[in-house]
């Protein structure tokens, strides 16, 4: 049923439909409304779930790790400092092959302290073994959560899933979203039935020491699952979702007017919407511009990205994260795909929207102009040069 909802409320409703047995989270802006909503459902008796109050995000992640190890579907959500405080446990969750669902309300990292949106928090966890989806709008967040559970809990996958939604822009933004019925969701998402769990009648040890004779194999197994099984499973689950819910939102990548595009921009998350508006405007002036939206960032869909971008002559990667001392992480990965290729497009990288700096239509138009010029690897957009000094100052 279509409703006009705040993004966080839409997440709470989607998670409720998935019926997790354990929810644990620690409040942090801009994630807080999500678990506030879920706590309310539990308190009102609308959701039969154990809501575990904890003293930190590290404990929240540990609680859902424990729940999943006991074979219980679980949910947590966090942002920014909370996510990196969880990071030790997040690597463990992936290594122990436990399909936890985490919604990351993307927010910049300190210092300086900043509560506004960018992607640095979840990008910092890109190497952890978690599946990562980046949502453009409320509908995608809702759909990715339901499909994420199904993918992560597949007995051949057993990996955790992080659904990334832009803080404030989506978490606090209100828009029209279709919330499915419980009957539809029950038809799509069966109860969680893991191939292994902690059970006193059938004891097992989980989270073992992996010495040099076995550790590499465990890493190889995750890599193989992500790059082979998950990439294949996503379109299948997406088709199944479409047959029940009537829409196809979860993809490896989404293309917008790329067929004949000379310039293709690459981006993730909500900024894709702004870019689509700019593309329509450019197209009305006869300029052949398109967008490649990365939906599934981990595993990285190399083949799809390569095949779409190879048709363009210029590519501009716009990202809300930076590997300080190198370039934008997405730019680096996309450039590597074309290493040694003869007819590679010219690829340029742009850093935009860090710490909530507004990405306007003008920002995107400027990127399009710069992409047509000399190749650049890491241009910071919309910088205020007056705030950059060569010497130390106290203001």
């Amino acid at each position: 049923m279509k409703k006009f909802l705040e993004g966080s409320q839409a997440v709470a409703k989607a998670v409720k439909l998935a019926k997790p047995g354990v929810i644990s989270a620690y409040p942090i802006t801009p994630q807080t409304h999500i678990v506030e909503g879920l706590a309310q459902f539990v308190a009102d008796g609308e959701l039969k779930s154990e809501f575990v109050n904890v003293e930190s995000e590290h404990s929240a992640a540990s609680a859902v790790l424990g729940a999943e190890a006991c074979g219980v579907r679980s949910f947590t959500a966090t942002s920014s400092q909370g996510l990196i405080l969880m990071s030790e446990v997040l690597f463990n969750i992936a290594g122990m092959r436990l399909p936890v669902m985490l919604v990351c309300a993307n927010r910049a990292l300190s210092a300086p302290i900043n509560i506004w949106n960018d992607h640095q928090d979840s990008i910092a966890l890109r190497d952890s073994g978690w599946i990562q989806f980046y949502a453009e709008n409320h509908q995608e967040v809702v759909d990715f959560i339901l499909q994420g559970y199904k993918i992560g809990e597949n007995p051949k996958i057993m990996l955790p899933v992080m659904v990334c939604m832009d803080g404030y822009i989506l978490t606090h933004g209100m828009e029209v979203v279709d919330i499915p019925s419980q009957e539809q969701v029950d038809k799509f998402l069966p109860p969680y039935n893991p191939p292994y769990k902690l059970d006193i009648d059938n004891p097992l040890s989980l989270g073992l020491l992996g010495d040099p004779t076995v550790y590499m194999e465990t890493r190889y197994a995750i890599q193989d699952t992500l790059n082979n099984d998950v990439l294949k499973l996503i379109p299948q689950v997406s088709s199944e979702f479409e047959s029940i819910f009537g829409r196809r939102t979860l993809k490896l990548v989404e293309t917008y007017k790329t067929e004949d595009a000379e310039v293709i921009l690459v981006a993730m998350g909500s900024v894709a919407g702004t870019i689509k508006d700019v593309i329509d405007e450019e197209r009305s002036k006869g300029k052949k511009v398109g967008l490649l939206k990365i939906v599934t960032y981990r595993p990285f869909p190399k083949e799809e990205v390569f095949n779409i971008l190879k048709q363009a002559s210029r590519v501009g990667v716009i990202e809300k994260a930076i590997s300080l001392g190198s370039d934008g992480p997405l730019y680096t990965e996309i450039s590597a795909l074309f290493s040694g290729e003869k007819n590679s497009p010219q690829i340029s990288g742009f850093i935009a929207g860090l710490g909530g700096r507004d990405i306007t239509e003008k920002t995107i138009q400027t990127v399009i102009e710069l992409v047509k010029g000399k190749k650049t690897s890491c241009i910071f957009m919309d910088l205020n040069k007056e705030l950059l000094w060569e010497d130390f100052r106290v203001i």
Partner: protein
């Protein structure tokens, strides 16, 4: 794809750590024992059994010869002796 992820519980019993003992082993004299149970509590292998005074003894299949029981005993009723000495 999966690799080593879980193991059967209780498998540490198959691992007879008594073979790690190289120089010395504890000898429980059973003379001045007051039954405090500290030796049983401190043993890292949990291989000491006993309830009453002068009944405590280690399972040499698992005793690594670390000497903690002899160190903790308040009555000095456990001695570390060379492996080559009489039983």
């Amino acid at each position: 794809m999966f690799s080593i992820l879980v193991a059967k519980a209780g498998s540490s019993k198959d691992n007879k750590t008594g073979s790690w003992r190289s120089v010395k082993r504890p000898k429980f004299l059973q003379k001045d024992c007051i039954g405090c149970g500290l030796c049983k509590l401190i043993c890292p292998e949990a291989c000491i059994e006993g309830e009453e005074k002068n009944t405590y003894r280690p399972d040499y299949d698992y005793c690594k010869g670390c000497g903690l029981c002899a160190y903790i005993c308040p009555k000095k009723d456990i001695e570390m002796i060379l492996e080559t000495e009489e039983k």
